[in-house]
Symmetry: C2
Subunit: 321 residues, 2 copies
């Protein structure tokens, strides 16, 4: 059976999955990304891991390509460029270097854009030509599909939706120094920052006053919300308001049929989804009202970057057929 | 010689041009839009005017289609829907009704999106696959091309860039009631509003203090700027700052190779273009810096909606060939 190795390169770990044409995973493995200071050492290890995963898989499989979702990846150049959370600085010719080790079709793409492609091939967007996928994790990523094709832009860096300034240059700073960038509000970190903001602004009694910024996480904030903790409730309402308003802006851009949410923050479930839905609808221009679906990703229990990486290769093969 | 009738439907006037495959205009005519309360009366008049224009043209021409740029037009539905500045309310099946009078290929599109298509066929975007065109006129319109195709969205209303909120719901209201909508800042009206804002905020001596809001226009503000009037200078700087920051956001969306500016406000020339360029570049994410061209439209001395309307039909013919 033919499989594609889908690769999710994160700052901490690299995850590999062997994905069939139908999106079934026949096995996975992971190893440390941050251990490798040198890109060539890393690629040697990645190659080794892919081959060993193929070998140890119970079914007889043939590897036909490798697709990678990574931060700051340019699909057009086959590079990873100046990624803040990876050890390899400058412009890394990732595809070229990996091709020296694995002589198969290899593609790379920004992880969030790859995830959108994954949604189209393996998720809930199978019959859609116009949609947006947002990844709410440590950061905020976006992938935009219009006219049935992923938008990768002039040199492959489209969809940096987390760094769109939503406050006329007057808000929180993102990790990339963007003032008022969406990611500073809507992400795992953004959620924690909003708890701090609410603790500063309001004097409500709250169990969140006993936790340090470093000890806070989404799970604890959700638990507090479930106990009707007023600070947690304010935090989710505010986050949903910012996200919903931002998504309403996105709609005015490409008018998607649906917006898919994926990533860790979506695990907060209705706490984040309900206010987002409300403020999205409220902020939509009249001509868009009632037309845009806000949906949980169909890949929510899978790894969207692995599925997206695999989709990069499978999508090409589908087009050739 | 084959020609397409390109139509620009404005709130006040309707303009018709006969456009060849190479974008040459062989004649034009205009008539009042606002005189016609009834859509059927209007379409009768439009049909008459098209035919009479074809007849009176000096060269022997054959009309092969009609392409229309109009406010609130859906390319997918062939409709004009709830346009605030037109007399015909509700959903007007424009293409269907005009086809009952003229049995040729007819297409309609939002005027700003059509203008983007015009830029691609007849302007400076001939070899580009990824760009954005913004129309800075009475309002603010947008047209987005990605992967070589215009983005029209789920049901043909993509590109409403003037109604993107840039202030987290905390700014001026647009005509459509969008708080902080870009159009409230960057348009002929937005410019006048900013003069008012500057007159409220600063006590500089200014010739603009002698003019009422209603008497103000772009030309007078430009003239004041040329006299180094401090309020006019502040107004252009502020407008360029808002526009430049907004365009930087647009880049993070589809990463265009170029952004084209068209419409009345562009006649202010370097007064608007220089600050916009500065603040665009300043606000771009690192990965985009130095890569995005800000250009005056190649259709600046033509009517972009007419050229865009014509492009709707010529583009289809080119694809068929």
């Amino acid at each position: 059976m033919e499989v594609v190795a889908g690769i999710d390169i994160g700052g901490t770990n690299t995850k590999i999955g062997l994905i069939t044409k139908n999106g079934e995973s026949l096995g996975d493995i992971s190893f440390s990304t941050s251990d490798y200071q040198n890109i060539d050492d890393y690629l040697d290890q990645l190659t080794l891991k892919i081959h060993s995963l193929v070998k140890k898989t119970l079914k007889e499989v043939t590897l036909i390509g490798v697709g990678i979702g990574a931060p700051n990846a340019s699909s057009k150049n086959g590079t990873i460029e100046n990624a803040a959370n990876l050890n390899w600085k400058g412009i890394v010719p990732f595809v070229e270097k990996l091709n020296q080790r694995i002589d198969l079709p290899i593609k790379i793409m920004n992880d969030a854009s790859a995830a959108a492609l994954g949604e189209m091939l393996f998720g809930k967007a199978k019959n859609m030509t116009d949609f947006i996928a947002v990844t709410l994790g440590t950061g905020f990523g976006g992938g935009i599909v219009a006219n049935g094709k992923l938008i990768d832009g002039y040199d492959g860096f489209a969809g940096e939706l987390g760094h769109i300034d939503i406050t006329l240059g007057d808000g929180r700073l993102t990790g990339l120094g963007v003032k008022g960038g969406l990611e500073a509000y809507v992400s795992a970190t953004g959620l924690k920052r909003t708890v701090m903001h609410m603790l500063a602004k309001h004097m409500d009694k709250s169990e969140l006053r006993t936790l340090s910024y470093n000890d806070l996480d989404g799970e604890k904030i959700t638990k507090a919300a479930e106990n009707s903790d007023p600070i947690a409730l304010r935090t989710y309402k505010y986050t949903g308001k910012v996200l919903g308003s931002a998504l309403a802006n996105f709609v005015a851009f490409t008018q998607p049929e649906a917006i898919f949410m994926m990533g860790g923050l979506v695990k907060s479930g209705h706490w984040i989804i309900e206010p987002t839905k409300k403020y999205l609808e409220e902020n939509l221009l009249q001509i868009y009202k009632g037309k845009v679906k806000l949906l949980e990703s169909g890949l929510i229990n899978k790894n969207p970057a692995i599925m997206g990486g695999a989709a990069l290769i499978w999508n090409d093969i589908n087009l050739d057929e």
